[in-house]
């Protein structure tokens, strides 16, 4: 379940970057928050961006269906991801983005020192090819982008006491994920300082070496972003996501999958013409999760630095 959340977050953040010309986005990957910011805003031929981002996920909400449940197990779970990403515009319409992540998971159950577990390592990578048939210009208010990509399992399995640890504590999902992505933006004014952003994503997950497959994920996002002067910007979005049940050896895993609706705010400051700093967060609004009980994300936040050449 946690893995799924992280996976989804990665993609959602990735998409968020894609959909928001004004603000960089972050994405996190399976097992842990991982992927971070890929700034996939519309670019012109030769544009090259490098970004570093880090994100903290607190995963301590216990939910039965759509109801919060009091957790009396003393459980604490969080994940921290760091991501380096790069985007390059091959032409005015074609661009490619890629990122690699490093993920650390912490889990504590009870007060015993034996209840503490930490894993860390290289996580998944993502490559995304994007085609932009329509883009916002001083003469056009619409932008449409379509993308195709893959989440590549670049991480290795983490071991604990000689045993492979559980899926939700792995830094990497360990399986290929095929990504379909689309984004639309509308500029409310010629300067494109106020934008409506919408995006949709779908990820089809393969089995990993342990024959575990995370449920396929789809997400929809709708939000606004605004630039204030030449230095500041902010965005706010509602993001709906849905994941199918996980499977191992083809058998459904109980208490996995569900639906979430999150609020995703972000603020951005342009330190220089080339360097921008983005702070972002995610707060759950509603959720309806499969099974009897699931731990799910309480909140997440992070920052990213993007440098454009």
């Amino acid at each position: 379940m946690i893995i799924r959340i992280l996976k989804f977050t990665i993609l959602a953040l990735l998409l968020q970057g894609l959909q928001s010309p004004a603000l960089a986005a972050t994405c996190s990957c399976a097992g842990v928050p991982l992927l971070t910011s890929i700034d996939t805003s519309a670019t012109e031929q030769g544009d090259f961006f490098i970004s570093y981002s880090t994100e903290y996920h607190q995963i301590s909400d216990l939910v039965a269906g759509s109801d919060d449940v009091r957790d009396e197990t003393g459980r604490d779970r969080n994940s921290i991801s760091q991501v380096i990403s790069a985007s390059y515009a091959l032409t005015d319409r074609w661009s490619v983005s890629a990122l690699i992540s490093y993920v650390k998971h912490n889990r504590t159950i009870g007060s015993s020192i034996f209840g503490k577990e930490t894993t860390s390592g290289v996580g998944d990578s993502v490559i995304l090819i994007r085609y932009t048939p329509l883009f916002i210009t001083p003469f056009s208010r619409h932008e449409l982008s379509l993308g195709l990509g893959a989440r590549i399992p670049t991480g290795e399995d983490s071991f604990g006491s000689g045993f492979i640890i559980s899926e939700d504590m792995q830094p990497s999902v360990g399986a290929l994920g095929k990504i379909g992505w689309s984004s639309y933006s509308y500029a409310f004014n010629q300067a494109a300082s106020l934008l409506l952003n919408a995006s949709a994503t779908y990820t089809d997950n393969d089995d990993n070496d342990r024959k575990y497959a995370f449920g396929n994920e789809s997400s929809l996002s709708l939000g606004l972003s605004q630039s204030i002067g030449t230095k500041f910007g902010y965005s706010a979005a509602l993001r709906y996501r849905s994941t199918r049940t996980d499977h191992r050896f083809g058998f459904a895993i109980p208490n996995t999958g569900g639906e979430w609706l999150d609020f995703v705010p972000a603020v951005q400051y342009s330190v220089t013409d080339n360097l921008k700093l983005t702070l972002f967060g995610r707060l759950p609004l509603t959720r309806d999760l499969n099974g009897t009980l699931q731990f799910t994300t309480s909140y997440s936040y992070g920052l990213s630095l993007t440098y454009g050449f």
Partner: protein, 161 residues
Amino acid sequence: MASRFIKALCLVLLLVQVAPARESAPFFSGAAINTGQQISLADYKGKVVFLDFWASWCPPCLASLPAYDRMRREIGTEGFEIIAINVDEHTEDGLAFLEKHPVAYPVLADREGGIGILYGIRTLPHSFLLDRDGRIVASYRSFKAGDEISLKQAIEKLLEQ
């Protein structure tokens, strides 16, 4: 399946061709909103031309216009000219700026993008340097104070050719 998918992605990347750079500056003509004179790019053949797209809502553009006007005075207009293209949806907004900060070079209005689309304008400021044969030799997609110094050097180099 996984490797096939990755191979397919790589193939798409290989198939994407980088568009060849445009060489000759697209032709345009129109009436200057600040001087009233009729302008045609063809009339400037034999001169080095700096073509500047701008709008009143673009802060760097507003800083660049006076700087370009000073640069023009320093270089002279014997073999050189600046043509500005204002892309404001409401040309009055551009005129209001020009009333406060007049420039001596001609400014055309391009509300619908008839010129800007030909030049592939996506963001502002965006400007082009044309040689004496009307070929685009450089393009600039930003402006900050001091940029006009290196621009002036590039223009003088073209004037020497």
